[in-house]
């Protein structure tokens, strides 16, 4: 069995509302798989059916080979899986250590093993000094780090993370991303949803994009970027910043963004030359000039559109 997660024909209704429509994909063992989509697209519903919180109307879900529609097999799958639900909190009236002990006991671990692993994780997530402080005194970043530590208490082979870096400060987000990379290096499988294209681009080996309950694309980030043709651009900043788009003949579109402009083109070589001539003619100093490939965000916008679902 090469797949950690297999989803076949997953369909989920809330009343008459179709939240997930015949979604099929698999997550290979040892990969980081990103699941992207706008708000309301069906990401969290998909995660909740994979984790067995919600029961689909039709379809099959196997996690680590276990049938998630069977109550007993679901528990067995969860014993080998660490889960961070969307917007989940640790218990704020307990200390960080007590939260970890609770999770260790729920995973059926022995007392010594729980203590050893808790200390290891508290140090990894930079929470050791605060281990005996009640979580209500923690910042959002500290709580999220603790939530991830709780999911990792049993050293699971699969991590299912719903928006693990959403709304976090830069340092906490970076720490969590480093931990995700390290888990991948150890051979763990990570399934994560995110809104953050930079995170998805940096972390994920494959990405699925869901819109209005349908899976509309699934591939590696670089292959997905090839879907967006004509999105090569040149970003330029002049001092003083002024640019007349009509004087750049090779531009297909120009976006002015604060102290810089992004010039979309099918011929970046010609555009760069035109921009340099423009600066010379108008006596402008070039502060910066660089060509940009299509980003994952461009792919996302092209596939999903501008609005939420």
């Amino acid at each position: 069995m090469d797949n950690a997660i297999e989803v076949v024909g997953l369909t989920k209704y809330y009343g008459s509302f179709l939240a997930v429509d015949n979604v099929s994909f698999e997550v290979k063992k040892g990969e980081i798989f990103g699941f992207l989509g706008p708000n309301g697209a069906g990401k969290t519903t998909t995660v909740r059916t994979i984790t067995g919180v919600l029961r689909p109307n039709s379809g099959e879900i196997r996690v680590l080979g276990y049938d998630m529609l069977d109550e007993r097999e679901k528990i067995k799958a969860r014993e080998r899986t660490g889960i961070v639900p969307e917007m989940a909190n640790p218990y704020v009236d307990l200390t960080a250590m007590q939260n970890l002990r609770l999770m260790g006991e729920l995973y059926g671990m022995g007392r010594r093993e729980i203590e050893r692993r808790s200390v290891e994780l508290l140090k990894l997530f930079d929470l050791y000094e605060k281990r005996n402080v009640k979580v209500k005194a923690f910042s959002k970043g500290m709580k999220q780090r603790l939530i991830l530590a709780m999911a990792m208490i049993s050293d699971p082979e699969l991590l299912i993370l719903d928006e693990p870096t959403s709304g976090l400060d830069v340092l906490s987000a970076r720490l969590i991303k480093d931990v995700i990379r390290e888990e991948k290096r150890k051979g763990k499988t990570i399934f994560m949803t995110t809104h953050n294209m930079v995170d998805a681009n940096e972390l994920c080996e494959r990405i699925g994009i869901i819109r209005r309950g349908k899976l509309i694309a699934i591939d590696t980030p670089e292959k997905l970027k090839q879907l967006v043709k004509g999105s090569v651009s040149v970003e330029v900043s002049f001092e003083p910043m002024k640019l007349d788009p009509s004087e750049i003949a090779s531009a297909t579109r120009v976006e002015l963004m604060g102290d810089k402009a992004r010039v979309f083109t099918n011929d970046p070589d010609a555009t760069v030359k035109e921009l340099v001539h423009y600066a010379e003619r108008n006596n402008l100093r070039i502060v910066s000039l660089r060509t940009l490939s299509p980003s994952l965000e461009d792919v996302f916008i092209k596939l999903v559109g501008e609005g939420n679902d």
């Binding site: 909740r48 889960i83 969307e86 989940a88 609770l102």
Partner: protein
Amino acid sequence: MIETLKRSFAIAKKDMRIFYLKGPVVIMGLLFPFFLFLAFMIGRNLSGGHLLVGLTAMTAFFTSTAVGPTIIPWECRGRTFERLITAPVSLTTVLLGDFQASLYFGLAITFAIAVPAMLYLSVRPAIWLFVLSTLLAVGCFSAMTVLMSSYPPTDVPADVMMLSSLVKFSLLFISGIFVPIENLPAYGRWISLVSPLTYYVDALRHSLGKGYLPVWLDLLMLALFGFAFFFTGTAIHRKVLERRFT
């Protein structure tokens, strides 16, 4: 089975640490029965046995139903419930943990109140029956909280507390604490049989040598009510689980 019990005890320990000292639990589980007992006692020339039965029954009933109904709404509100049910435990294990939290709270407070009261009032009940019926009753009332917390599937603890208070007070006044069953009119006696508290009060009175119903029926009904509450509550929780996330 042992692993399930161990994991449910972990949940019970968490509940004890978090919920025992919450304001509504202290008010409904400790202060309220105390003042209700004062209202029951003052101005009435009651015997020691009658006082002990009233005090013990009210304490057991209110303490063991104080914690349970609000745990899941509180968990949903605090966004900890999904974390809990995605752990490798079944919903039944989670509810068994919440049941134990109510059970230990009820037993500890009831015996802490009843034993000094026995000594102070110089009343000597048949201890085996007193203890057995209290264990069964506190278990039964704790199981009742599993049912009380099941519907509506809300994240507002006050909603559940309001409904559970309505049920508890209705049961309190038809269960032979304030007026012994034998003194009720015939229709009142029939109505009293739908309350599990009736059987506990009667069993306590048996322990003092003056019950009304057969004592075996009291104990059997407490056990049956307990199982029915737990399994019905679990089934409803399972049915409405999705509505807690949508």
